[in-house]
């Protein structure tokens, strides 16, 4: 596991704290054409994912790892399909915990 450049678990709200850093998040894909994919974060923010999607078709939920480009966009490096159902509430809570008082437990 590469720990030299860990990706921070974020949701839409937390993304802006990590502009320029490597982040990972899960989005619900709304629309994907060419290099731009739009999706909804687990806390209902609209996010834009730049970079070409993987060769395989995206499922409803996708995890994206990449560098935070701005408050609302990420340059994707890796895409992982997370299936068509996903508990966004839990993931959102996880993001908050990972950036809150238990931050030290996370990379």
């Amino acid at each position: 596991m590469d720990t030299s450049n860990p990706a921070v678990l974020v949701n839409g709200e937390l993304l802006r704290m990590y502009v320029g850093r490597k982040v990972r998040t899960v989005i619900q894909v709304l629309q994907s054409n060419g290099g731009i994919t739009t999706g909804k974060s687990t806390d209902e923010h609209q996010l834009v994912i730049k970079g070409s999607p993987p060769p395989f078709p995206l499922t409803n939920f996708v995890e994206v790892i990449g560098v935070a480009d701005s408050n609302q966009s990420i340059c994707a490096e890796r895409w992982t399909n997370f299936g068509n159902t996903f508990d966004t509430f839990s993931y959102n809570q996880l993001c908050q915990l990972a950036n809150g008082e238990y931050k030290s437990l996370f990379l």
Binding site: D87, F89, S90, Q93, L94, L97, E101
Partner: protein
């Protein structure tokens, strides 16, 4: 104070003449003895020896008067007035059954020198071949005191001849009695006449065997037998014994029965052939086992199901119904097998029936909650006759409504009628019964004018029938009135009321109580808060106490009286594949198969020892042993049929054939591998059992379901939130709460931990928060807040009324639930929590918070059983408190 005992009363009683209505004899109690009846230990009876200063006679005290003896009001030497009594011959002895008496003097020196009364003792000599009535009566007349006052008569005649011999001697010669019966209307004579069989009455010392030949021809005249309503005794002997006198006697002595029945109705002591006229109707309250014939007229208030049962003596069916009569007496009628079939369809709830020729048995109090010490057992010869015209004097239903506030003080398993407003109702859910069957359960809150509310649990069919109706009414925004007939009080979760099979529910009934309640509720009740005497139960059952594998051992689960039910999230790490099932007996017993192990007979048949039968084909049922493992450890568990099927996804029979018949090892391995290393949420039953003197912890899987990651995440998040929520707020809350020691401890519930709490504060701040929250939740109006402070000093383990939403345990709430805290301990601190040997904790911390002695934990406290609180079972209290406590010690 000089006491005059009623002279000659014993003689009159013994002869069956003196009747309650016209005579209330004053007698002295010479002796009281407790009689042990064989049938039921709780059915105490007292035998009383009564004296009228001249004679002695045995009497039995009706059980409802037992309290007099127990309270000491009625004792040896007491002078009493019999206000209601019945003279019977029981096992050949004359016994006065005292239904009611007044104690005139509690203590008195023995009066006179009474002798055992031998009835018509010498008459036996004279009676041979002669109608005894004649001689005896004549003797009476001879005395010349036929003034119509039996007492005076007896007074003069009996003292002279204490054994009654006088009668005899005087009897036969003076045979002129018929001339003046009218002159002696109330006299003693006719009753003597009624005792032709005087030899029998000498039996006070006589043969103990009751002559079973009773219904023979000459018995009818034997006075005492039918006497329970015996004002009519005279009336009925006489017509039999001597026609000419009959008229005089019957009219001379007007019937004084309180039940106003014409005497001839009761006269049926004649030969069997004459016996067909209906016996007179008596009130249910007057039924007793010593009566031969009776008829009751009563309404069926409840009718049970025709139930099949199976016990060591075999199969059978039983059916019972409850009766209520116009005097408010109630009794249960039970019939078995063929008799049950005979009457089951005939009985309709609400109809009025005439019932006779049943036998009376002591009531089975564990099944029968009615206010009657007896129940009627119907036989095939019993008659049950429908009364076509409804008798409006018999109420439809009899309620004895008690305010909910009174339910609070009632004992577990007592029965109660309550009426209240349904303030909320929960959807029904299913619950596993001990015998493996499932039943439905629905709870609702009932409140009444006493300002209390109680949780009512509906079981089985009530959930869907009445429960659904109430749900609909509640959903439409109206709070229905609910009357519950015979609910059972339980002390599960504080006090609650549950239905039993014979309970009846009436929604928005049309009684005055219901209207009053409705009015109260509409005017004020709707807005007045009521204190619940039940602890609110959360949706989470007790099996949802989440534990880790190591906690099963470390917390000594299963070592208390009852099994522990826990949930463990673990992975199957090893499965014993050789013996995964057993051969089970498929014979149906009742509605379930026997399922005991059957043994191959060698001839292709399978033999079941329990059923004592052989069958051609057996059933295969899972009995899988496997290991489950989580991050704390691993343990062996056993899963049975249903669980095994669910986990394996194939029936035990199919898997057995696959492995042993088809020997398809590859496919078999595939099925096993599908289960192996899969994570399940196991509901476990943990109980320590003894196998050949060895204690073994038996862990049985009740339910295994694959872990739903989403649900599990939420569960963990919830735990984290609780953990987090308690941390920061702990200190201020604690400071505010600690001065009030009573409440401080409610949440956590141990005094012993208090001294060390400050030290533990930083590490275990969550405890303190728990206290604060515990106290708060008390103030919210849980049961605890009223009693918490009062009971705290007594109870030892405090806050018994608090319930934990997380584990369902008692004595804490979810915020400081030990199941969570110890879970945390496991995650963070490793094993430090565990295995603190008793007494090994250092210094002040080893004080037992139950007895406040040093050197042992409360769990090991020798005096613990005596000190535990009412509502917290020792095992639970000890374990939780002990466990939590130890953690604190470990924590700092």
């Amino acid at each position: 104070m000089a006491i005059n005992l009623t002279d000659g009363a014993i003689a009159m009683l013994s002869n069956g003449e003196a009747q309650g209505a016209d005579l209330k004899p004053i007698l002295q109690v010479v002796d009281i003895r407790l009689v042990n009846t064989q049938q039921q230990s709780n059915n105490e009876r007292y035998r009383i020896l009564l004296s009228d200063a001249t004679h002695l006679q045995q009497g039995m005290l009706a059980t409802q008067m037992n309290s007099l003896v127990k309270s000491g009001k009625l004792q040896k030497g007491s002078v009493v007035r019999l206000t209601q009594f019945v003279c019977n011959v029981i096992q050949g002895r004359m016994i006065i059954i005292i239904i009611e008496l007044e104690v005139i003097l509690e203590k008195c020196d023995p009066i006179g020198e009474p002798k055992q009364y031998v009835q018509g003792g010498a008459a036996s000599g004279a009676s041979q071949g002669v109608r005894p009535s004649m001689p005896i009566q004549s003797s009476v007349n001879q005395t010349g005191t036929a003034t119509g006052n039996p007492q005076s008569y007896v007074g003069t005649s009996l003292p002279g001849g204490q054994t009654g011999g006088q009668n005899v001697s005087g009897g036969p010669p003076l045979h002129h009695s018929k001339t003046d019966p009218v002159a002696n209307p109330q006299s003693y004579n006719s009753s003597f006449a009624g005792n032709p069989d005087s030899g029998r009455y000498t039996v006070n010392n006589g043969p103990p065997v009751y002559p079973k030949t009773e219904p023979s021809g000459n018995i009818p005249a034997s006075g005492p037998l039918p006497i329970s309503y015996s004002d009519q005794n005279q009336g009925f002997h006489n017509p039999r014994t001597d026609g000419s006198r009959a008229s005089s006697n019957t009219c001379a002595r007007p019937m004084q029965s309180s039940y106003q029945q014409p005497p001839p109705m009761y006269v049926n002591r004649g030969p069997v052939a004459k016996n067909e006229a209906p016996a007179r109707i008596i009130p249910i309250a007057a039924l007793n086992p010593y009566q031969g014939r009776w008829t009751i007229k009563a309404r069926v208030t409840a009718k049970g199901e025709l139930r099949h049962y199976n016990n060591p003596r075999g199969d059978g069916k039983v059916f019972s119904f409850d009766l209520l009569d116009s005097h408010g007496g109630e009794i249960r009628v039970t019939c078995f097998n063929a008799v049950a079939d005979q009457f089951y369809n005939q009985i309709e709830v609400g109809r009025v029936y005439l019932i006779s020729k049943g036998s009376l048995k002591p009531a089975q109090k564990n099944f029968n909650h009615l206010n009657n010490d007896h129940e009627i057992l119907l036989e095939s010869t019993s008659t049950v006759q429908l009364c076509m015209e409804d008798d409006s004097s018999i109420p439809r239903q009899q309620f004895n409504f008690r305010p909910i506030s009174e339910v609070e003080g009632m004992e577990n398993n007592s029965y109660v009628d309550v009426i209240g407003i349904v303030s909320s109702i929960n959807p029904s859910g299913s619950i596993m019964r001990k015998n493996g069957t499932e039943t439905q359960k629905r709870t609702l809150q009932l409140k009444d004018m006493s300002g209390r509310s109680v949780e009512l649990t509906l079981w089985g069919n009530f959930c869907n029938a009445e429960g659904q109706r109430m749900q609909e009414i509640c959903d439409s925004g109206i709070f229905p009135v609910l009357a519950v007939k015979t609910g059972r009080v339980s002390d599960f979760n504080g006090k609650a009321v549950g239905t039993i099979s014979s309970s009846q529910l009436f929604i928005n009934p049309d009684f005055p109580e219901a209207h009053r309640l409705r009015q109260w509720f509409d005017n004020e009740g709707m807005n007045t808060p009521s204190v619940s005497i039940s602890r609110e139960t959360s949706g989470i059952g007790k099996t949802d106490v989440r534990k880790t594998v190591s906690q099963i051992k470390d917390e000594k689960l299963g070592t208390s009286e009852k099994p522990d039910w826990v949930t463990v999230n673990a992975t199957v790490s090893f499965i014993k594949v050789d013996n995964f099932c057993y051969t089970a007996c498929p014979i149906m017993i009742g509605d379930r198969p026997c399922n005991k192990k059957v043994i191959n007979n060698g001839d292709g048949k399978w033999r079941c020892d329990r059923c004592d039968q052989s069958v051609d084909d057996c059933e295969y049922r899972y009995l899988i042993q496997f290991q489950i493992q989580d991050h704390t450890g691993l343990t062996w568990v056993t899963a049975f049929q249903e669980c095994g099927e669910e986990m394996m996804g194939i029936s035990a029979r199919d898997l057995y054939y696959l492995k042993y018949e088809e020997q398809d090892d590859e496919k078999f391995a595939k099925i096993i591998r599908k289960v192996l290393f899969t994570r399940y949420l196991f509901k476990l039953k943990v109980k320590e059992e003894t196998f050949s003197d060895e204690q073994r912890l038996k862990v049985t899987v009740i339910k295994a379901e694959r872990v739903d990651p989403s649900a599990e995440s939420r569960f963990l998040l919830d735990m984290i939130t609780k953990l987090k929520g308690e941390g920061p707020s702990a200190l201020p809350q604690r400071a505010a709460v600690i001065p009030d020691s009573g409440i401080t401890n409610i949440g956590y519930g141990n005094i012993g931990s208090r001294p060390i709490a400050p030290a533990a504060n930083n590490t275990w701040s969550s405890n303190n928060a728990g206290r604060g929250i515990g106290a708060q939740s008390n103030q919210v109006g849980q049961y605890g807040n009223q009693y918490g402070s009062a009971r705290v000093p007594v109870a030892g383990s405090m806050g018994g009324y608090l319930s934990c939403n997380s584990c369902g345990g008692t004595g804490h709430n979810s915020n400081n639930c030990p199941s969570i805290m110890t879970g945390q301990g496991q995650h963070m601190g490793g094993g430090f929590v565990n295995r603190v040997p008793p007494g090994a904790g250092g210094g002040s911390s080893s004080e037992c918070f139950k007895c406040h002695q040093f050197g042992h934990w409360a769990r090991d406290c020798p005096g613990s059983s005596g000190v535990t609180s009412t509502y917290v079972s020792t095992g639970v209290a000890g374990r939780y408190d002990g466990g939590g406590f130890k953690q604190q010690v470990g924590g700092f």
